[in-house]
Amino acid sequence: MSKLRNVAVVGFAQAPIVDAEPHRTAPEMLYPVVKQALASCGVDRKDIDYQCAGSSDYIDGRAFSFSQVLEVMGAWPPVQDSHVEMDAIFAAHLVWVKMQAEECDTAIVCGFGKCSEGSPTHVLNLQLDPFYHASLGLDHISTSALQASAYMSAKGVDDAALAEVTARNRNAGARNPDTQLRKATSAKELQATPWAVTPLREGYLPPIGETATCLVLAAEGKAEKLCDKPAWIHGVDHRIELQTIGARDLTRSASTKLAADKAFAMAGLNSGRDADVAELGSTTPAEELILRDALGLPSGLGGNGAKDGPAVNPSGSPLCGNPLMNTGLLRLAEGFRQLSGRAGERAVGGAKRAVVHASAGHCLQQNIVWVLGTERRWS
């Protein structure tokens, strides 16, 4: 791998994830978050070169939804700006590419999505092939259940294992003041919850919530000045697969595997086991197991998920809160918090390298993998 430009995450702020924030619009939720993120780096908005948001018109229920947040992101006088109709973690990737092209040195990335103003179940159905998939009435829960079912029958994984994986995440989430479900639970308790769509129980599925997020990125030379402990980007890659669910092997995530291979090669990692922390964008326990396989992490089964290899999902993962369009960026933020001493009670002691994953689409269709480190990657 040729030498790249060292770029780091230097700041982050979020609103705590809630079921619904009935008294504030998306811009009202985002405004204090942008201020907090900038203040955490001690930087003025005018000293930021570039801004990029990630959001969805369908989630917000109006066309050009992103144009409402220009004021609160600080776009006056006019600024260099873009927007991706994706989870904001892809905006962070675009910023990293832009820094590699030497088009900017500092940037803010914002995510928002007022999921409570619409019906995410109906909206996510519209993401599917309009002729062959969407018309079946599939939503994200039913497609996740298809994938869970395929994985369980191929690998001999049972309901108790899904309950155990979920409980581990929920108990981690109990220590995360910003997440949505903060009540510790047990596998037994979760196994007693009713089926949502078999083989997924209601207890295995995250609530969809809402938040607003702002991440600050900076290139070497600026990053050290903005943050005492920047989280340097050692590698990143993302890949998509065909959507057609019947044409994919749902028991594995080929796009995660390929993205991880590329990101790990860039970072000089042999596998996910080389990291101290892994934060995954899994929205069901079956997804976590599939992602562990793809990233070379311990299987997560038989009780070896917590002790063997890196700490997985210290934030509680999206299983404790799934604010669409922010869910991915929150994983990158968790990697930053863990490496920069900002993870509070849930800090993984001595963490030097983090693997971060996020996903988009149905059945893990599109995946992005990052490697972060406490030291610069290239000298």
């Binding site: 018109d57 144009s67 220009l70 260099q80 092209a101 088009e103 065909l242 988009a360």
Partner: protein, 383 residues
């Protein structure tokens, strides 16, 4: 930009009010296949894909890059989806340029589309915002007051919009891909119904189905041919908020800032002398003189004089929209990339019947939102 980037292939569909024989995926695939054939490449040669389109409610498919992954040849590749309102097509192309300039990707395929016949643009473009009374007026109703303000402030005679529209239609007649091509005179335009004063029916863009795809490559790969490349000398996107007190909606500061930034990077000190052809985003006729001013081709309030002299026509000093422009072809998400792609074809000398002779530098431009999002590129025949 740290590394040289060039356009090495361009492909577009024919544009029409309805392309009834193709669905969204098939329409996009036609443009992709044509761009790859034009570049003498296949899907295996592409390292990443950048997709752009305007609001998803226009077709009713949420985040269509997921559904279109197969049609775009994106399986197991990186793909991102840009959305910056009407400017999105040009911004998407520039995002792909950034990907190549980063050194991380050798060749990038960029695609933009809209299939307006699948939905209702008037509805989709009349969004409700909190604490803001809904206009329910579509884009024309939104921009008409800006055009009225332009006329008042510049002292332009009232026929200028009609001159722009008739000239654009004349140009579209020479573009095999254009949607509207029927000949039309200034008198025809002036005689057409007033929709949103001062914008008449024939001064308004159509709703189109269509797609465009462009292949970009780094210097080493671009020089391998088979085409003479179009080099990207500079590109940038600037944005401003809607509700800034004192904001100049007629000649927005973001547009002026973007132009200044791009000219500085491209080494252009006098755009009127150094740029031979321009493709502006003109959805309503009056925007042609407005952008001539905003982009620094003339002094403030003088844009209408350029049009009145006819200096923006084919064969004159600065042909504007030789393709016929947005006024005759408007698949919204693709419209900005069509400006970028047409500018590339002009510097490659491959614009066919609407080719402007001896083009060294061409400008591609798009804008969007409430005249808030600006995206500008300078393409050149020389590295």
């Amino acid at each position: 930009m740290s590394r040289a980037v060039a356009v090495v292939g361009v492909g577009q569909t024919h544009h029409n009010s309805k392309l009834p024989d193709v669905n969204v995926a098939e329409m996009v695939r036609i443009a992709v296949d044509k761009a790859l054939a034009d570049a003498g490449l296949s899907h295996e040669d592409i390292d990443a894909i950048v997709l752009g389109k305007a609001p998803d409610p226009l077709e009713g498919i949420m985040q269509p890059e997921q559904y279109l992954a197969g049609a775009l040849g994106a399986h197991l590749k990186p793909i991102i989806r840009v959305h910056t309102a009407g400017s999105v097509g040009c911004t998407t192309a520039l995002t792909a340029v950034t990907h190549v300039a980063s050194g991380l990707f050798g060749r990038v395929l960029t695609v933009a589309f809209e299939k307006q016949s699948e939905g209702n643009a008037m509805w989709a473009l009349s969004p409700n915002y909190a604490f803001t009374p809904p206009m329910v007026a579509g884009a024309g109703g939104f921009f008409a007051p800006y055009c009225r303000a332009y006329i008042k402030r510049s002292g332009s005679p009232s026929h200028i919009g009609a001159v722009v529209a008739a000239n654009a239609r004349d140009n579209a007649g020479r573009n095999e891909h254009a949607h509207l091509k029927d000949p039309m005179t200034v008198e025809d335009v002036l005689g057409s119904p007033m929709l949103w004063d001062p914008i008449r029916f024939l001064e308004t863009c159509p709703s189109s189905d269509g797609a465009i795809a462009i292949v970009l490559a780094n210097e080493e790969l671009a020089k391998k041919g088979p085409r003479k490349p179009a080099w990207i000398k500079a590109g940038a996107t600037f944005t401003e908020p809607m509700y800034v007190p004192g904001r100049d909606q007629v000649s927005p500061l973001a547009g002026r800032t973007c132009a200044k930034h791009v000219y500085a990077k491209a080494g252009i000190t006098d755009p009127w002398k150094q740029i031979q052809v321009a493709e502006f985003y003109v959805p309503f006729s009056w925007y042609e003189p407005m952008w001539l001013e905003n982009l620094g081709f003339c002094e403030l309030n003088d844009g209408w004089k350029v049009v009145d002299r006819g200096d923006q026509k084919m064969g004159r000093h600065l042909p504007v929209n030789p393709s016929g422009g947005v006024l005759n072809t408007n698949p919204i998400g693709a419209s900005g990339m069509l400006r970028f792609g047409e500018a590339a074809l002009q510097v490659m000398g491959r614009a066919g019947e609407h080719q402007v002779p001896n083009v060294k530098n061409a400008l591609g431009h798009a804008y969007g939102g409430g005249a808030q999002y600006f995206s500008i590129a300078i393409l050149s025949s020389e590295l």
